[in-house]
Symmetry: C2
Subunit: 218 residues, 2 copies
DNA sequence: ACAATTAGTTAGACGACTCTTATTTTAGTC
DNA sequence: GACTAAAATAAGAGTCGTCTAACTAATTGT
């Protein structure tokens, strides 16, 4: 049996590896722990056959590690849907809650029942694909950050970073939700803000924010 | 912030104290840990102001401890209802699951939303009152075990022990569910089985089993 | 090529929770 | 009052997950 903390690390490695190789120092930042703590944990994860670490490739999930990680991500996102769609929480309140709930499912049967009542959704409320639905991996990798678009580009919001409650409130207030169509009107020089059009209104978005909005090319 | 283990101990103490004074040795059995482990934990619980222990009265929850315990029990039973009523699990499958879920609720708000969608039930699927609904404490204390009934007694099943999955399956197969009316027809001597009538059928129940069925006098 | 940043490692520690084994109290019984 | 059974305590240890401080190795920019 795996501990919750182990599951959290696997999930982190999984998510980080969608953006290139995972190194211990980054993992320490992500998990908000010190480097030696990560080193200890990687040792334990290795011993359990959940990851392989090498100087060259960094941290890689083994098949077993990947399976666990995907299960956790799936459960996390299913719970997020439950919290918004059924309990009626706001999309900025559900991430934290789901972080705990994801570890409290004991069997694939319960997970499936949950998916059943939710109607087998393909994404979480923030637009992230739910592993286990077709094309989840592919969608996860295809989108690009809005910050990388050029003036004149039009795009559809695919998903947004789900961890920062304040950011989510802000995005919702501007209508920057998954499926919304955005058009880049102007980009101020020197990494300045980006003027975008959404739902007929125009807003200036900082690079920071734009980097957290993933879009699919129009 | 309290750990899950601390919450589990408080819950155990709460439930045990409904049947008289709680002593460390019993608590160790209930929690399936060794006596020194319990002693350590009681020390920690005392330090946190959650319990008071004395030679004379055993372990008592403080106001703060009681509040926490009731919250946990309430969440546990709400999740059980969710698991049966909404996810469609069987009543023998939900206790374990709810044991984990109860610790994964971060705020009274989420708890309330859950109660809302469940229609503010008064009991869990096994008939145990949900703290926070009126008269919960009273109902919890009023019922008596079926094993203490006499020949000729008629009674309504109030609740059944919820921890043993096999027992629950067995009870369900006989129709021994909360709200069912039972009549004691015969009690074999020397602590022998009890012949009871339920839904027109007659069954012999061992003392062990009868002790786990709580009834309200007709 | 070398200084400077970044990454990783070693060593020692601590809190939470658990164990076993052994001993001491306490309570109950004859 | 003495003896036994049950309960509690003491002592010592181990795992998991975390820390800080100090040190070494690897990269990288100029």
């Amino acid at each position: 049996m795996l501990t919750e903390v182990v599951e959290e690390y696997l999930e982190a490695i999984y998510k980080m590896s969608l953006n290139g190789p995972v190194i211990a120092a980054r993992l320490a930042e992500w998990m908000k722990v010190s480097p030696p703590t990560v080193a200890d944990m990687l040792k334990r994860l290795s011993d359990k056959g959940l990851v392989k670490t090498s100087r060259r490739d960094g941290v890689k999930l083994t098949k077993k590690g990947l399976e666990t990680a995907e299960t956790m991500v799936r459960r996390h996102r299913l719970w997020e849907r439950f919290l918004t769609d059924i309990l009626g929480l706001n999309w900025d309140e559900v991430h934290e809650e789901a972080c705990k709930l994801e570890h409290a499912i004991s069997s694939p049967q319960v997970e499936e029942k949950l998916a059943d009542i939710l109607g087998h959704p393909e994404t979480c409320p923030h637009g992230h694909p739910i592993p286990g639905t077709r094309g989840a991996r592919k969608r996860e990798k295809e989108a690009k950050p809005l910050s990388q678009c050029s003036v004149g580009d039009e795009a559809i919001i695919e998903r947004v970073a789900d961890e920062d409650s304040q950011l989510l409130q802000y995005l919702a207030s501007l209508g920057l939700l998954p499926e919304a169509r955005v058009a880049v009107k102007e980009i101020a020089p020197f990494k300045g803000p980006m003027l975008v059009n959404v739902c007929g209104a125009q807003y200036a978005l900082g690079q920071e924010v734009a980097a957290k909005i993933m879009v699919k090319g129009k």
